[in-house]
């Protein structure tokens, strides 16, 4: 399904990006010379050790924090501040505790020309998409962690960004809901032709979803390797190629000790 409208170029370019934080008068280098280009409509995942700077990278792309060195641009425009073209699902759900779930999701709508009725209808649609229909009037505190996370995903999707950044969005979900959500995301990605950049700790998830998988090294985070996944979707999680890539990624993380590796697979 190619939605090849002659839109503005939305390629995401990350060029020689460095990021350090000052912690107690010392420089903490978090990202070192990160280079990555993500084409329009591409699905890319990032995997890497905890604390290697994945969330930091997403915040830079979002324009929430400035880069220390280097440049990030979308199409022709350098990213300097957040824009509605880029959506974000944070690592935590970050819902407003004082608003109902429906109101929380509706907050993600940025199109001001919509009528109240249209907004309501859209909210209903996206709540259904993340299987939260029936919880419109509940408060976040009345939902489980996974349900809250799904509401956060709906809030990001409803704004219809061209580029969606997802920071471990399925981390809090059980295995079944997780697979369900992966299928939903894939569906949305195909239908709406969005660029998606996903951070995950789940290697299977990365292989199942992505065109390319970016492996980051430990802090200071650099791009260690980029793996292309060629096979057609929907992918069979038990296929030979799947397992081969899985083994390869694990090898990157665990070093070259093949002996241990068999054990994990």
């Amino acid at each position: 399904m190619e939605a090849g409208n002659a839109k503005r170029n939305k390629e995401l370019q990350i060029r020689h990006v460095y990021k350090s934080f000052r912690v107690d008068a010392e420089n903490l280098e978090v990202l070192r010379d990160v280079n990555l280009e993500i084409g329009e409509g591409e699905f890319v995942s990032i995997v890497g050790f905890s604390g290697c700077g994945k969330s930091t990278l997403l915040r830079l792309i979002m324009g929430l924090d400035p880069v220390t060195e280097g440049q990030i641009s979308i199409g022709e425009n350098e990213v300097k501040k957040p824009s509605r073209e880029v959506g974000m699902v944070f690592q935590e759900a970050r819902l407003f505790p004082w608003s109902s779930i429906a109101k929380n999701v509706e907050f993600g709508i940025s199109d001001k020309s919509l009528s109240k009725q249209e907004k309501k209808e859209m909210t209903r649609k996206y709540l259904e998409l993340v299987k939260l229909n029936g919880f419109e009037d509940a408060f976040p505190a009345q939902l489980s962690g996974g349900m809250q996370q799904r509401a956060g995903i709906a809030r990001a999707l409803i704004g219809n960004p061209d580029i969606l950044l997802l920071d471990e969005p399925f981390g809090a979900l059980d295995a079944f809901t997780r697979i369900n959500m992966q299928n939903e995301i894939l569906d949305i990605w195909r239908k709406e032709n969005k660029t998606m950049l996903l951070i995950t700790h789940d290697i299977d998830e990365a292989i199942f979803l992505s065109d390319r998988i970016v492996i980051m090294s430990e802090r200071p985070g650099t791009i260690q390797e980029v793996i292309r996944v060629e096979s057609a979707r929907p992918r069979d999680r038990g296929s030979e190629e799947f397992l081969k890539i899985r083994k390869h990624i694990l090898k990157c993380f665990l070093g070259s000790s093949d002996i241990d590796l068999e054990y994990y697979i």
Partner: protein
């Protein structure tokens, strides 16, 4: 079954201390341990209380005080919320005003009264002004705290969605500050009630504070006590009402407790 038992137990726990004090009071006055011209027996106080209600005296003084409180409280709460919001939102506003707040706030209420009487006369205005000041501080401080304690992570959600400043204020900052603001308002009402009585005791010709001072001049300790307890009971009722309102308005803020 167990729940009903708990309910009785908690009721018992709530009333045990006041009942004990009352019984002790009754005992010492009935046994003649204290001079009843100084401490009348509770029976006498209740009788006086009944007489004050019957004659309409209590109600008249109480309502006079109550409306004074309402006026000063409304002014104090509104300005406290406004100025507090401005100080919470703008760092420079905070800097400009905080030294002034630092100097004025520790001045006890009573110290203002002579000055206010000089400026505004002995009538309504000076009393409303006293109550205004009494309400203003707790509302101001709690509003500032509420605004400053808004979760940066939630603000980021609004930033990412490029919401306007007005929308951020209305949909993120204010809702998140509301519990703290309402706490300030509750405290403010409490001080307002205290202030009106203090102001009336110093200079007034009506009101519950006046009633108490006047009774003291006539050496009527039963009337003094009836007045004092009225203040306590009304204060308690108002706070209970405000607490209920708070729980109703801010149900989301109590959900975590409900889940436990």
């Amino acid at each position: 079954m167990n729940k009903a038992k708990n309910k009785y137990l908690s009721f018992f726990q709530i009333i045990i201390a006041p009942v004990f004090v009352l019984l002790l009071w009754l005992a010492v006055t009935e046994a003649g341990v204290v001079n009843t011209n100084i401490l009348p027996s509770p029976v006498k106080v209740v009788k006086t209380f009944g007489a004050l209600i019957e004659s309409g005296k209590l109600w008249k003084n109480l309502s006079t005080s109550f409306f004074r409180v309402l006026k000063g409280f409304a002014l104090g709460a509104v300005s406290g919320i406004f100025i507090g919001t401005a100080m919470g939102l703008s760092g420079s506003m905070n800097k400009i005003l905080s030294s002034l707040v630092g100097i004025l706030r520790p001045i006890p209420m009573i110290a203002w009264i002579p000055m206010l009487i000089l400026w505004l006369g002995i009538g309504e205005k000076s009393k409303v002004a006293v109550i205004f000041i009494g309400t203003f501080w707790p509302v101001l401080l709690n509003t500032i705290t509420g605004i400053l304690s808004v979760d940066g992570k939630l603000l980021e959600v609004a930033t990412v969605l490029e919401k306007s400043r007005l929308e951020v204020l209305g949909k993120v900052v204010m809702p998140s500050a509301t519990p703290s603001i309402i706490t300030g308002v509750r405290l403010g009402f409490g001080t307002a009630w205290t202030c009106v009585v203090a102001a009336e005791m110093i200079a007034a010709s009506s009101g519950i504070g006046y009633m108490i001072t006047y009774a003291r001049e006539l050496s009527q300790p039963d009337v003094v006590l009836a007045g004092v307890f009225t203040i306590g009971i009304v204060g308690l009722l108002i706070d209970a009402g405000l607490l209920r309102l708070q729980k109703k308005l801010l149900r989301w803020n109590y959900l975590r407790d409900e889940r436990k």
